[in-house]
């Protein structure tokens, strides 16, 4: 019974120099029991602030926060049945690993035998048994990270809060820990709220993802849905790498005009909401992986042809990134490495028209399909 809910939660900071600053505005969401939800967004978008409000380290300016079936607005962090893993791990430097792990339980005046058992359990799950008598500074980054997780585990909380726990690790260790965290979630069967600025981390870990920008929630959806149906241009550009391409376009019946090129949309793309934009300007979005070189097309049902000159080619081994210009905007295609491309080549690209997205140029919202 540990759902987490925000009801119109708002957080303002009052700064003497900058005045009033809204870090989180009108936030509404429900995180279900045992769900792994990731908050993702660029730096400064209010992820940490949201997490700290769940923890009770920061008090919301207005709105309600519910954990389980209790409104926790006025509850102290220790009474919220949560545990948090901090970005810098926040291990107590003067305590041994054992003391770090048991600090919370000792403060809660749990029986000695119980504390001992909990510490042993966590240490064995996280492979820390041989390090219990060491101080944090004697541990590697990855080990410290595990201690930080361990300190949360021993508490048996209803909700785990993670604030960018992997951002201080090197790339290899990060991937390894990602796998371990996913396994840990299955094993613990607890609700996890996880904050990161890394969209890859979000996509691989999250059962559902909350995309934030400038203090406002942009979309809450599963990774697949975020990728397939981004609600607005921000989400479309933020999720996926390289980012989605945008082109200025104009609709005309079932045809769309892009920089002088006419593309015929497939039946499946036409919807009543798109019909409202007939003869109007729209933004066409297409992911780099949905653009092919003419000489290497795979599984495209409805092709749109666009001929232009290649500006830059990046060889990544398993694929090539080819850059070209459409109107004022630069477009990236992620193509098969055997696709012929060099700078200056006049090349015909194939757009998978079954996978394009349309956005309103004014509101930047998706024109639904």
């Amino acid at each position: 019974m540990a759902r987490v809910e925000f009801r119109n939660v708002r957080k303002e900071f009052h700064d003497q120099q900058k005045g009033t600053f809204t870090a989180v505005e009108g936030s509404d969401f429900v995180i279900n029991d045992k769900e792994f939800v990731v908050f993702v967004g660029p730096s400064g978008c209010g992820k940490t602030t949201s997490l700290r409000m769940i923890a009770g380290l920061e008090h919301q300016s207005s709105g309600d926060i519910i954990i389980g079936d209790r409104v926790v607005n006025n509850l102290h962090p220790k009474d919220r049945d949560i545990a948090m893993v901090f970005q810098d791990y926040a291990l107590y430097p003067h305590m041994t690993i054992r003391e770090n792990l048991s600090f919370g339980l000792r403060n809660l005046k749990k029986p000695k035998a119980y504390i001992e058992q909990k510490v042993q359990e966590a240490a064995s799950i996280l492979d820390l048994e041989s390090m219990l008598e060491r101080k944090p500074r004697e541990l590697s980054g990855g080990q410290r990270q595990r201690v930080a997780v361990g300190r949360a585990i021993v508490r048996d909380p209803q909700v785990f809060l993670f604030d960018e726990p992997l951002s201080n690790l090197d790339a290899k260790l990060r991937i390894q820990m990602r796998v371990e965290l996913a396994e840990l979630h299955k094993r613990l069967g607890a609700t996890i709220v996880y904050v990161t600025h890394d969209q890859v981390e979000a996509m691989t870990l999250g059962e559902r993802i909350v995309v934030m920008n400038k203090g406002a929630i942009q979309q809450i959806a599963s990774p697949t849905e975020l990728y397939a149906k981004p609600r607005n241009m921000f989400v479309a550009g933020f999720i996926g790498s390289p980012a989605m391409n945008f082109m200025d376009a104009e609709l005309d019946g079932n045809r769309v005009l892009v920089n002088g090129t006419v593309l015929e949309l497939p039946e499946s793309m036409l919807s009543s909401s798109l019909a409202d934009y007939d003869k109007k300007k729209v933004i066409l979005g297409i992911r780099p992986e949905d653009i092919y070189g003419e000489d290497f097309v795979q599984n495209v049902k409805v092709e749109g042809k666009m001929t232009t000159s290649v500006q830059v080619v990046e060889h990544l081994g398993s694929e090539n990134l080819v850059y070209f210009q459409v109107g004022e905007r630069s477009v990236t295609a992620k193509v098969h490495p055997e696709t012929k491309a060099y700078v200056g080549l006049e090349k015909t690209f194939i757009l998978d028209l079954g996978k394009v997205h349309f956005f309103d140029p004014e509101t930047e919202m998706r024109i639904s399909d």
């Binding site: 102290h76 962090p77 220790k78 545990a83 948090m84 926040a90 107590y92 600090f103 919370g104 403060n107």
Partner: protein, 277 residues
């Protein structure tokens, strides 16, 4: 070229520092040397740079003619209490200013800090009137200790030190069900130990060497600190050169021993505020 100019620089610096060291050390040397040769033995004997007649008689005379033991006790007692109060209040206030949010914290801090710009001499008379006439505390330990119970400088030092401790530790402890005082006691204080050590040593030395305030506020012989007592002894026995030097040595030596055994902390104390602006 480069290394040559560097050698010249180092040489010049060494010579200047060496001369400075000599100038600083000579009076101290003279004081100690003057206390171990007895000029009263014969009228012709003058103190010498390298004494030919060694004697502890000046010390004997100093201790027998004065309440030196009482003065020493007073100095130790007062310095110890002042050290304890400064460490306690300084770290508490420093922590509050560095890490706790409370209305007006910035304003209060700046008001406190601005008092550092007022020279001590300006507040001396009002303070004297306050202690003597308003509180009627003249000639008591309380009178000597109370005004220095915590100094703004020490609060500032502690604030600087504690600002450098990560706030996430406080948050982690709060989630770990630690009480607010527990956070201070179990997490912050252990981490602030090096800073506290510096504060304690500096406070002890300053209190030990303080002259003017104890001199002003005490009137009876048995309330004097060693520095004040020494001054009164100098006035009274201006001819007993050896005994005066012995007294001065007694007053200075504990601090010299303290300095040389805890040098590391003194050096830290100079750089401690420079860690973070």
């Amino acid at each position: 070229m480069h290394s040559k100019s560097k050698i010249i620089m180092v040489t010049v610096a060494s010579v200047i520092l060496g001369l400075w060291a000599i100038v600083t050390i000579i009076p101290l040397y003279w004081m100690i040397i003057g206390s171990v040769q007895d000029t009263t033995l014969s009228a012709t004997y003058k103190p010498q740079m390298i004494p030919s007649i060694w004697s502890v008689a000046p010390f004997e005379r100093f201790f027998s003619k004065t309440s030196a033991w009482r003065w020493l006790f007073n100095s130790v007692f007062i310095s110890a209490v002042l050290t304890a109060t400064n460490v306690f209040f300084g770290s508490l206030a420093g922590y509050a200013f560095a890490k706790l949010k409370f209305p007006g914290s910035k304003t209060v801090f700046w008001v406190l800090l601005s008092t550092m710009m007022i020279p001590a001499q300006v507040t001396l008379i009002p303070l004297y009137v306050l202690i003597i006439n308003v509180f009627n505390l003249g000639d008591t330990y309380t009178a000597i200790i109370l005004p220095g119970a915590v100094s703004v400088g020490n609060i500032f030092l502690m604030k600087q030190y504690m600002s450098s401790l990560p706030t996430s530790l406080i948050h982690a402890a709060r989630i770990d069900a630690c009480s607010e005082f527990g956070i201070f006691w179990k997490v912050i204080l252990p981490l602030a130990k090096p800073g506290l050590a510096v504060l304690a040593i500096f406070t002890f030395v300053t209190s030990w060497n303080d002259f003017f305030w104890p001199f002003l506020i005490t009137s009876s012989d048995e309330m004097r600190t060693i520095q004040v007592g020494l001054a009164s002894f100098v006035f009274a026995e201006s001819t007993d050169y050896g005994a005066i030097m012995a007294g001065a040595t007694v007053g200075a030596l504990p601090m010299m021993i303290l300095f040389f055994s805890l040098q590391r902390y003194f050096l830290q104390g100079i750089t401690i505020g420079a860690v973070k602006g």
